[in-house]
């Protein structure tokens, strides 16, 4: 399988990465090189094989349902590029 220019633009949008028209051919080439490389997986017989979901054989650990963190709003917003009080600021989302 390989990707065309329209697919490159679609993927870029899905990934929320702005891509200029000039970058598309280059990206298309690189993505196709990667897809060519992974193509060899199609020769592996995976019939009846379970997909890996966890590399270690362990039960998912469960935590106590208790409050053990919080009250750190100052810390949470400390690195934000734009804030007002304890709120993150973004461009207007709802008209």
């Amino acid at each position: 399988m390989s990707v065309d220019a329209a697919t490159v633009r679609r993927i870029a949008h899905l990934a929320r990465i702005a891509v200029s028209e000039g970058e598309v051919p280059h990206l298309q080439g690189e993505l196709n090189a990667m897809l060519d490389f992974v193509e060899q997986l199609s020769e592996v017989n995976v019939e009846g094989v379970e997909p890996m979901t966890s590399v270690t054989l362990m039960q998912m650990k469960k935590r106590q349902d208790v409050v053990n963190d919080g009250e750190i709003a100052d810390d949470i917003v400390a690195n934000a590029p734009a804030t007002e009080g304890h709120f993150f600021l973004v461009p207007k989302v709802v008209e």
């Binding site: 993927i11 899905l14 990934a15 929320r16 997986l41 995976v46 979901t53 690195n79 973004v90 461009p91």
Partner: protein
């Protein structure tokens, strides 16, 4: 005092305990070495004041006889580890001047045990790379050069700053992380020792995430014993990481010098690649001979899905990365590019903040997870991953204690020499290491020799889950036989 930097960690521990020198003296010697080696670009942030404060505090503790196992030992920290109050960037523009308000579990354990932080080390952006060339702070120089040449070589990656700093005697050890070979490959390129422990052995909490099912932290050090000492402090259960395993941490150092007599060492035939350089082949046979001379038994083994590990990795790792890196949105931390609306804000911030390699991997990851392609790519890769793990399980079920392979398909190469036209050329560096991440196993790289140009080469030992001790015992046999390698200082 500069010769203090050439001590191993074990030697420094003794000198500190005997009061031959103080941690402050040891720390100052390293701070001077760092200053004199800025051309290597191994450190992206030096923290001399903090280092001296930590050293003074630990000297007081040593005086009181209340010293931890790493008391007074100066270390470098890969910039992927969150350090409270000290800028942490993953060497990406998108994190900008991010200053964590918390400390990663691993580094907090190192400080608990008395280690001293010298600064933050360079790495490939978000640990994506095999040459430390994708860092937003620029490439790192390898302290090793080809005989008779002035060309600066890469130290490998992604933990290139860690490997370079340890090899150049700028720190006594360093933290590193390994998703596809990022501890072991740079260790092999710089004649240092690097161990990626079993998945779940070290907490991932507070480490910038790349591909969470593969990421695992470990140390890079100048000897097998030093690596064992560091891993003991880094490992351990952490309730804050659900994949961290609740198994007691052994005294890894006790495994050093333990007999390897009767151990069964697998030599996987699939690692004998077409066109493999003769010197790698020779190194591999030498390593096998050393282990045999120490009483181990060599057996040929087969890991039939080896060749599919790298392509499967280049689906699984980018897929997880595309998901993990979704958090860099220009809203909560880091870089923010101005835009008219929220979508443009995301798109412009991520286009500006991520470097070319990261953008490429996030896009591939997005593609293989997208509707209509998930089954063909991602699901198939996860099935192949099951088969890769089963290869190892079958091998261990036959009584094999560890597997010996080359660490890398070549020695270090020049900056800008690889991957310019085709990204896959660079990816092939991890061909011997990536299988270990896919199967969640422990792997150690130990310096074992030099190539014809005088560059170091390493061997890799792969162990059963949570049997890092076996790797330390076997690794030390190789170290004893091969000797230690130190680069001639040119910086």
């Amino acid at each position: 005092m500069t010769d203090l930097t050439s001590l191993t960690l074990a030697e420094a521990r003794k000198g500190l305990a005997d009061k031959t020198f103080t941690s402050l003296e040891l720390t100052d010697a390293h701070l001077s070495a760092i200053e004199a080696a800025r051309v290597l670009n191994a450190f992206v942030m030096e923290t001399p004041e903090q280092a001296r404060d930590m050293a003074k505090a630990v000297d007081e503790k040593i005086a009181k006889g209340d010293a931890g196992p790493l008391a007074g030992i100066p270390l470098g920290i890969k910039d992927l580890f969150a350090t409270k109050g000290v800028r942490t960037t993953a060497c990406s523009k998108i994190l900008g001047n991010f200053v964590p308000t918390y400390e990663s579990t691993i580094t907090s354990q190192l400080w608990r045990d008395g280690a001293v932080m010298l600064g933050k080390l360079n790495n490939d952006e978000f640990a994506m790379g095999s040459a430390n060339e994708t860092s937003c702070f620029g490439p790192v120089g390898n302290p090793w050069r080809r005989e008779g040449s002035n060309t600066t070589l890469v130290p490998g990656g992604s933990s290139g700053g860690s490997a370079s700093a340890v090899a150049a005697l700028l720190c006594m050890g360093a933290t590193a992380t390994d998703t596809g070979g990022s501890i072991r490959q740079p260790a092999a390129f710089t004649a240092t020792v690097g161990i990626k422990p079993t998945y779940g052995r070290c907490s991932r909490w507070g480490i910038v995430a790349f591909a969470s099912s593969l990421d695992q932290a470990g140390p890079i050090a100048r000897s097998v014993r030093d690596a064992a000492m560091l891993l003991r402090s880094m490992a351990g259960h952490d309730p804050k990481d659900t994949t961290s395993v609740d198994i007691a941490v052994p005294d890894y150092e006790a495994a050093i010098g333990k007999s390897v007599k009767g151990m069964k060492i697998g030599i996987p035939k699939e690692y004998r690649l077409d066109g493999m350089p003769a010197e790698i082949e020779k190194l591999w046979s030498e390593g096998a001979a050393w282990l045999k001379a120490a009483g181990a038994e060599l057996v040929e083994v087969s890991l039939p899905h080896t060749k599919y590990a790298l392509p499967a990795y280049y689906i699984v790792a980018p897929a997880e990365a595309s998901s993990n890196l979704a958090r860099y949105d220009g809203v909560r931390y880091g870089l923010r590019e101005q835009a008219k609306n929220i979508t443009e804000l995301y798109e412009n911030t991520r286009a500006e903040g991520f470097g070319a390699e990261v953008r490429r991997r996030v896009m591939i990851g997005t593609y293989v997870l997208s509707a209509g392609y998930y089954d063909a790519y991602y699901l198939r890769a996860q099935k192949v991953r099951t088969l890769i793990k089963k290869d190892f399980e079958d091998c261990f079920a036959k009584g094999v204690d560890a597997i010996l392979t080359p660490a890398t398909p070549s020695a270090a190469f020049g900056i800008g020499e690889k991957g310019g036209a085709d990204p896959v050329e660079m990816y092939l560096n991890d061909i011997f290491t990536v299988t270990v991440n896919m199967a969640g196993l422990p792997g150690i790289a130990v310096p074992a020799g030099k190539d014809a140009q005088g560059l170091p080469l390493g061997l890799q030992l792969i162990g059963r889950p949570f049997e890092e001790e076996t790797l330390f015992s076997l690794g030390e046999v190789i170290e004893q036989a091969a000797g230690r390698f130190t680069p001639a200082r040119w910086w």
